[in-house]
Structures are given as structure tokens and as C-alpha cells.
Amino acid sequence: MVAAQPVSTLASSTDKATEAIAGNARSVKVAARGVNLWYGDMQALFDVNIDIAANEVTSFIGASGCGKSTFLRCFNRMNDTIPICRIKGDIRLDGNDINDKSIDVVQLRARVGMVFQKPNPFPKTIYDNVAYGPRIHGLAGNKSELDEIVENSLKGAGLWEEVRDRLGQPGNGLSGGQQQRLCIARAIAVSPEVILMDEPCSALDPIATARIEELIDELREDFTIVIVTHNMQQAGRVSQRTAFFHLGKLIEFGPTEKLFTNPNQSMTQDYITGRFG
């Protein structure tokens, strides 16, 4: 880790990426400074600086291999599970360094939840899929409290009405779109503050996608959301801010509307208009 610098010092530098940050008077949930990451000898991220605003949806876009998913996984230390992965830089959640030795990574992942590309419910009942997290984190004192968490989480994920009569059935018996909403219910059951979504709709049909997008917009009231997507129209629809990555570098970060109608960087323009490479 590099020595943690106060965010204000970094934000006042003339660096291009931090300039974009300096103009924002938003409440910052996650702040990344000078993040570099290597898989073995191969560097995958170069000096990434970003401020993720609380209760906003931030999209990461860019071609495959640009580092957007790798960067997303830095936010809850999912890269720790890759032995050859090495990271330098400073990532702060509410001002606290998430890579600090004192941080319990299990607790961190409860605060920063994740939803993956392919719906991956546990081979358990619908109820147990959602109850699993609250149980291991001891969030419920008794069965009725746990029931309440399960119900509220399924409601929050817009799935309750469809499954309330079959909570004892296996989670993987649901349709793809329902499974993904089950995974979202599972993520929110432990009351996270941030939800990371790595292409959450790429395996879903347009209707299921629309339901997830609608849900993302609702979840924004209670959570901070960061979503990686290859679908630029989706990024345009769901997010308030968009970050464009290319070859491990953050090229442009700004209001979604601006980025998709009149980006500052020619590289962004080439990418969003399909003129890349």
C-alpha cells in the first residue's frame, strides 16, 4: 500500500482524473486514489482515481480487458482471492482504508455486496438463499426477525409477490431473471452500503433486464451502486455517472448524460460511437 494521503490534497492536484473529482460537491462513499494493479507481471490498472458518490449509480464501461471489472472487484477485495494479484494505492470506504490490516474482509464484503454476471443462487431453498447472510452475520435474534429480513429483502428485490408461496422451493428452480433478483435479495439481506454489479443483466432477456434496471433505480435510494456493463444504453438509462476505462486507465469520468452526448475525450467518443480500434 502507498501511504494514505488525505483525499483533499489529492483532489487539488492538477492531475486530469482528479480534476473531474474536484468539481463534485457530492457525498463520497468510496474514494480511490492512485490504484495500480498487477496480475503477476502484467499491469491491469494504472493510477486510477475516482470518487463514487453515495446513493448514486455509477457505471463502468469499456472494452473487454480494459480493467473495469478488476477495478470493481477492488472495492470489496475480491481480488484477494487471486494469488498472483497485487494492488497498490488507496481505496477508502467512508474515509477508511479498506486494505488496512485491521479490516475484517468478511465484514467488508457485508458492507460492500456483489451481484455477478450469471445468477448464482446457492443450491438451497429460496428462503435459505436470502437467510444465509443474515444468519452468518448474526443479524437476526430469532426466527421471526429472520423471516422479516427475508421478506423485506425479497420485497426490496421486487421478487416477493412471485415467490411468497414457495419459499421452501429451490432457488435455482426460478427463471434466470428471478434468480438474479434472488441474488440481489441475498445481497441486500445483510444491509450493505454499496452494491457492486458485474454485468448483472448480460444473461437476461429484455423484460428481465428491464425489471432489474427498474430495481436498480429503486435501490439507489438506500444503497450506493456501481455497475459494470457492456450495454451502453443500459449505462445511459440506469446511472448518474459513467466512467470509461481503456487499457487499464480511467479515460473519462463524468455525468452520464454528458458522456453519452458530448464526451470530452476523443477516445470516449470513439468508443461510444462504435469506432474503436
Binding site: M232, Q233, G236, F260, T261, N262, P263, T268, Q269, D270, I272, T273, G274, R275, F276, G277
Partner: protein
């Protein structure tokens, strides 16, 4: 607009072809409208009934192209879902075709009055009217060049010239009012000429609209009307 504003090609090459086809239609429509304005000014200045007929006949071509451009742009939005400059080009094509259609309509309106005025006994032409006509005609020509060359400086110079058209219109208006007061028998002719002047003034306004759209298409920002408006 004839060439793509970005040198690089789309990964999907047929998208380049689509944008080019859209641009070609705008250019074609602009060329007809420009000729209509030139002919209308000629018809009114030289009492040419035959040229006025040509202006009126060309109206159907312009209307057809406007419809075609609208349909083409809608199809592009649906199929390609353009973003960035591509989006601005397609959205502005819809608006540009509307401005060009209006310019064409005003030229037709002038031509119709030119036909009627050609039947009248010869009257003293007001020197100001051909001058106003030529100014508008050159503005239409230059704005289409600016569009073709994607030249915002040229577009903005046309934009500022509209003030001259407005001044000519005001002067002409006063002169026509004076003529009617002095010789009420010429009222009918003067009213026709007043409408011609008004139509030219509106043509000037539409060229400034086009200038603003060129600016937005290229820079992605609306022009600051207050800051740039000539005094």
C-alpha cells in the same frame, strides 16, 4: 455533412453508409432550397413568371425529401441507437430538414407573389428589396457550405449577417408604408412587396437556426445567443 465528421470508421461499416446516406439527402434538399431562394429573388426582381413557376414546382421535391429524411433518421435511431456525435448528427438532421422545408415554403410564397406582380403594370422597384433578396440568398448558400464543410466559423458569420437582413426589413417596411400613404392606389402592390420582405426576413431567421444547429452538432453545446448576438 457530406463527409463523416470523425475520420475513423465505425466497426459496423454499414452504419457509416447510413450516416452518409442521411447526409446526402440533407445536402440534396439544401441544394434545391438554395436554388428556390435564388430563383424566387430573380423572379421578383426581374418580373419573371416562368422562373416563379419553377420555384413552385420544386416544392414537391423538398417536401418529399423532408419526409424521407424524417423516416431515415427515425430508422437510424431505432436500429443503430447512436451516441455522442452520431446522435447529434441524426437529431440535427431531423431539425435541419424542417428548417430547409420552411425556407423552401417561403421561397414558394415569394414566387407566388412574383407571379401576381408580373401581371401588374411596371412599377418602380425598391432598390432595397433585391438587395435584401441577394443577402438572404447568399446566407442560404453560405450556410449550406458551412454545413457541408462542418465549418462553425463560417456558420457563425452567416448567423451574424441576419442582423443586416433585419435592418433592411425595417427600412423596407417604413418605405412601403410611406409609399402607400403617398399613393393609396399602389396599396395592393405594396402589401405584396411587404409580404415578400417578411418572407425573406423569415428565410434569414431559418439560416440562423441552421447555424445554431451546425454549432451544436459539432461542439455538442448550444450557442450562447446573448453573448454572440450582434448589436
Amino acid at each position: 455533412m457530406g463527409e463523416l465528421p470523425i475520420a475513423k470508421q465505425h466497426t459496423v461499416r454499414s452504419f457509416d453508409g447510413d450516416l452518409k446516406a442521411l447526409a446526402d439527402r440533407i445536402v440534396h434538399m439544401g441544394a434545391i432550397a438554395e436554388q428556390q431562394v435564388a430563383n424566387a429573388v430573380d423572379a421578383i426582381s426581374h418580373r419573371r413568371h416562368d422562373i416563379a413557376v419553377k420555384v413552385i414546382e420544386d416544392d414537391i421535391l423538398v417536401d418529399g425529401l423532408e419526409e424521407e429524411i424524417d423516416q431515415y433518421a427515425i430508422r437510424l435511431l431505432a436500429i443503430r441507437q447512436p451516441l455522442g456525435m452520431d446522435l447529434r448528427i441524426v437529431a440535427m438532421a431531423l431539425k435541419l430538414s424542417n428548417d430547409l422545408e420552411r425556407i423552401s415554403d417561403y421561397a414558394v410564397s415569394i414566387a407566388k407573389r412574383a407571379q401576381r406582380l408580373a401581371e401588374e403594370p411596371e412599377f418602380r422597384t425598391l432598390a432595397m428589396l433585391p438587395r435584401m433578396g441577394q443577402t438572404c440568398q447568399s446566407m442560404v448558400k453560405d450556410i449550406l457550405d458551412a454545413l457541408l464543410e462542418r465549418d462553425t466559423d463560417k456558420a457563425m458569420s452567416v448567423w451574424t449577417r441576419d442582423a443586416e437582413v433585419d435592418r433592411l426589413y425595417e427600412t423596407l417596411f417604413q418605405e412601403l408604408v410611406k409609399t402607400v400613404q403617398e399613393d393609396p392606389r399602389r396599396a395592393a402592390i405594396c402589401i405584396d412587396l411587404m409580404f415578400v420582405a417578411k418572407n425573406l426576413e423569415r428565410i434569414g431567421d431559418h439560416t440562423t437556426n441552421i447555424a445554431e444547429k451546425i454549432h451544436y452538432m459539432i461542439h455538442g453545446e448550444q450557442i450562447n445567443r446573448m453573448r454572440n448576438r450582434p448589436s
